[in-house]
Symmetry: C2
Subunit: 238 residues, 2 copies
DNA sequence: GTCTATATTCGGATAGAC
DNA sequence: GTCTATCCGAATATAGAC
């Protein structure tokens, strides 16, 4: 119980709806956070205007770039899609590259929080639930953000590229650790199992053309993922 | 036995080495095939020269583009890396876009062959082996090609983008079909299992920075994948 | 805070000499 | 068959008016 008293309220969830209600990285709040973190490079001073523009810019980016790629998206495309002029764009962002970096920053914050929340659980079953559901739900709400970072990591400067890859490694490492706690005596390669689990979760945001449409709900998908993991490591659920 | 007599010799394999020996899409042979298929748009007439240049061009593309992305790679970058001049490049390829299209064509041929070979097997256990090992081994030998298509599908014209996505769907569909043959009475969602399997295979060529280095061999990885699949569908191997 | 207009660089592609 | 030289459009980014 020790550390669990310190947990954020939204670190306990068993359904998507429940998670979504406590998830702060969405809506205007999200863009406020981005604004706060990038005040120095954003020329617009009033939060009200900056937030509105950032919202337009990211929406436009996530509308254009999945179709043709970030590098092929010109700022003129972005200007047309946002309704802002070239000058208007540059008053809200430092450069084109800055867009990609901001995406990376936001996703990094969210990913860290997922791992943190999970690591705070003493019970490995709860910990597994938390990381799987947390990752799946977060990347559902922020689908465009996760998808963008996945495919556009190459568009980042070397340092941020490294950071982006590490996000994934941390998920795998954390999950493998939990799995070892669940079955301390197993001689299975838990890194392998965790790799499988992570890539299964990524499937949803990486290949929306395959999953996004009808088929299964996120909650069902979460159940399926967990069941598959338990089966793989021969863990009997009560 | 009926159809298995018609199979290509290299459709029977149980190890990477064995597969590699019968795999024709590598070395000079590969570039001969590309040359034959693109004679009309390649200005160089002598196969000897064309093959040598194509080899340089694809090697350079696979060296530069994973780091910065295909769109960010300029033909001047390519010129520097290949040692060919701008004019020299354009005598061997029709355009920059043509490079991406040729990659897609080659990968499509290989993927089709994997599915074909697998579908030719009457025994579902053999069929599963064939598709899993075929996909894994092919994408190991042609790692750069598969990786490129995965991340640069966006750089293709709409029509080829569609074709590229279909390649993946065909793998999943084929694998799901085999799994249903293996366990006809199971009420598991075999599309889900196949999706998991395919994304596990893709892991290797999609994230080489995670897997390529030391760790497990391809053969071990194949065994692990197959074991995981069997476990998932509760199939007892003899 | 947002626009228009423009500076400047760099991209893909081609023509024509060798 | 390959190279050099060059065209031309398009890209990022900025200056300064409103």
């Amino acid at each position: 119980m020790s550390s669990s008293a310190l947990q954020l309220q939204h670190s306990n969830y068993n359904t998507f709806i429940e998670f979504e209600n406590g998830f702060e990285y969405q809506g205007e709040r999200l863009y406020s956070i981005i604004f706060e973190r990038n005040k120095e490079t954003i020329k617009v001073n009033k939060e009200k205007f900056a937030v509105r523009n950032l919202q337009k810019i990211f929406n436009a980016t996530f509308s254009i770039s999945p179709k043709i790629g970030f590098q092929a998206m010109s700022l003129r495309d972005l200007s047309a899609e946002t309704g802002l002029s070239m000058g208007g764009l540059y008053s809200s962002i430092a450069s084109k590259e800055a867009i990609a970096i901001m995406v990376k920053d936001v996703v990094a914050i969210v990913c860290d929080e997922i791992v943190e929340n999970s690591m705070a659980k003493d019970d490995p079953v709860e910990a597994l639930q938390t990381i799987v559901r947390g990752y799946l739900y977060s990347s559902t709400i922020m689908q465009s953000w996760f998808n963008f970072l996945y495919f556009e990591t190459k568009s980042l400067p070397d340092l941020e590229q490294e950071a982006s890859k590490n996000l994934e490694l941390e998920q795998v490492t954390a999950m493998a650790k939990i799995l070892r706690n669940l079955k301390p005596d197993s001689d299975l390669d838990m890194e392998f199992v965790a790799t499988m689990a992570v890539s299964l979760i990524q499937e949803r945001y990486v290949k929306p053309w395959k999953h996004h449409q009808p088929k299964t709900t996120v909650d069902q998908y979460a159940v399926d993922c967990l069941a598959l993991i338990y089966k793989t490591i021969d863990y009997q659920i009560d």
